[in-house]
Symmetry: C2
Subunit: 344 residues, 2 copies
């Protein structure tokens, strides 16, 4: 697999997005978002998305340069319209607004409709934590991509509906970024392609029976991914429903629209300053971190790791040693670069 | 098992709390909270708590009549001190304040410290949904009651740290109220007392090995409950950490205080009115509900049920047919009533 530095990937991704019509600042922002995900080891949300995003621009689904507008301005409660620009443009603007308004009101909620792929939603809460605030974000997905069954059902009614949370510390933030399903479609595909059985409790086949055969997920009728929680899967389903209501119903990005390919997003910023003061908060959070990590390791484990810790470790390694790109992804990126006259 | 009407239990519980020193309005509120939990079938948070609460008053841990004070007032971001009154008094005041301020600012966050047992935190978000808003609530627990291991650890570092969420519909609200652990101590105790093995993935023994023997949980060294998620238990641990940060670190109810028996609570209210209008929101949520419930049933299931649906069904039955109380709980309640000269 070819290996690249962060700077190489950033320059290339920026030129590709600029080459397909994004204004320079937007091209730069989307490139940074994807490259940072790759750096952190979240490859499913990294530069492998470049070909998909370019394809979406060509199909007219993504409209680069489209302004993100404020539809409703209720002081600490806002509704934005991403107007079909890259999801990262809407998400970044929403996080900036949430930070600014939370500085004034103490807390701010921002819902965003008509986003394209919102990318790694951890990025938005990470920027809120960087501003010394607590961030919470959720994102839904359009009907045509639904793969997760409600607990008790056998037909997909939800996307993997992620929840992200971040809080500032004296070092790297606490950074959670999880889907509310037990796994993702990408992991099922990997098992299928490698000829491996799935762990129990991941999917139902099209008849609603538990299955460990990854091919059952892609058969007709389609299988479904189970919500987080196993026998307590009503918990994962409840969390996914909460995400759907905040990111979808509240934003007006209704899950039920047929043929719609877009995402809704919800972001909350809470000022720590107006309650405890940032220094006192991070000191107290430092004590919590120490306490959590002091739990002796379970069998076959090296001990508790904080939300975000594995990703920040990967980022340290990849910043130094470079980022490996899968051959198939690299070949796609090279093809697109040629088509756009971007020098690789 | 003796069976009672809602009114009988309400009158009795109210008189017991008044009898041990709570002002009438507080006695009434705590009684209503516990009886409603029993009516909804959430018996672990219902009238079986009466003896524990009375004991806490006698030990001076709960201070009835203590005023709930505003420590910091940052417009849409507040910190309250429950001042060791019943947790329900602080929680109810926090929800009322959140609703009032969210009416002004669009959204409001309220953290509360020095609560006693916060009870069923679903009650607070339910009251927010009743006011036509979206509610979110989380609660942490003191160190001496920690039973949940961080993912990868074998020593308990968290309580079952629940998350509750509610949204208004044209009928009963969507109502989620879940712990972020795979199970509760009460369910492990039930398996032990009935001589049954636990399902796999619920606990680790004191050496950090997976176990299905409920006695391992109570042995020395103590076993621990696993976070929600099974092999994806980092997700449950991440959610529990988020709860700890919002309900504990932000409120100043630090998890790390030794000997402290109190809880922290965090409540958020989001106005729907200023974004979509309530009628438009509930119409859109109605379409989501219809879509979720239209998923054909999985094998051995009667189909998807909404968050809160089983509890509202139980409430309909119990309002009509009365509430059965376990003999042991009833005998405890009778003993306390005699001691307080309350007529049963």
């Amino acid at each position: 697999m070819p290996t690249f530095s962060l700077e190489q990937l950033q320059r290339l991704a920026q030129q590709i997005f600029a080459g397909c019509g994004a204004p320079p600042a937007e091209a730069n922002l989307v490139a940074e978002h994807l490259v940072e995900s790759s750096v952190m080891g979240i490859d499913s949300h990294g530069v492998m998305r470049i070909p998909q995003y370019v394809d979406n621009v060509r199909r007219g689904v993504v409209k680069p340069g489209s302004p993100v507008s404020i539809v409703k301005d209720g002081e600490a409660n806002l509704l934005l319209d991403c107007n079909f620009n890259f999801g990262q443009i809407g998400g970044t603007k929403a996080a900036e607004l949430a930070i600014r308004r939370a500085g004034r009101y103490g807390v701010t909620s921002v819902a965003v409709k008509n986003c394209n792929h919102t990318g790694r939603i951890g990025a938005y809460v990470q920027s809120i934590a960087k501003a010394g605030m607590i961030g919470l974000a959720m994102s839904n997905g359009p009907k045509n991509g639904h793969s997760v069954a409600p607990f008790g059902g056998r037909e997909a009614r939800l996307a993997t509906n992620p929840i992200a949370f971040a809080a500032p510390t004296s070092g790297e933030p606490i950074l959670m970024d999880i889907s509310t399903s037990i796994t993702s479609e990408g992991k099922i595909r990997l098992h299928r392609d490698e000829g491996r059985q799935l762990p129990g409790g991941w999917i139902l086949d099209g008849k609603g029976e538990p299955s460990c055969n990854p091919r059952d997920f892609y058969a007709a009728p389609r299988g479904t991914i189970l919500p987080l929680g196993g026998s307590a899967g009503y918990k994962g389903f409840s969390l996914a429903t909460m995400v759907e209501i905040l990111a979808g119903t509240l934003s007006g990005q209704c899950i039920t629209s047929q043929g719609d390919e877009h995402n809704g997003l919800w972001i909350l910023a809470i000022s720590v300053e107006s309650i405890l003061g940032l220094a006192s908060f991070t000191e107290s959070l430092g004590a919590l971190i120490h306490y959590l990590k002091s739990s002796a390791p379970a069998a076959n484990s090296s001990g508790a790791r904080l939300p975000g810790e594995p990703e920040f470790e990967t980022a340290r390694v990849r910043r130094e040693q470079g980022i490996e790109i899968h051959d198939a992804t690299w070949s796609d990126i090279c093809r697109i670069s040629r088509e756009l006259n971007v020098e690789v």
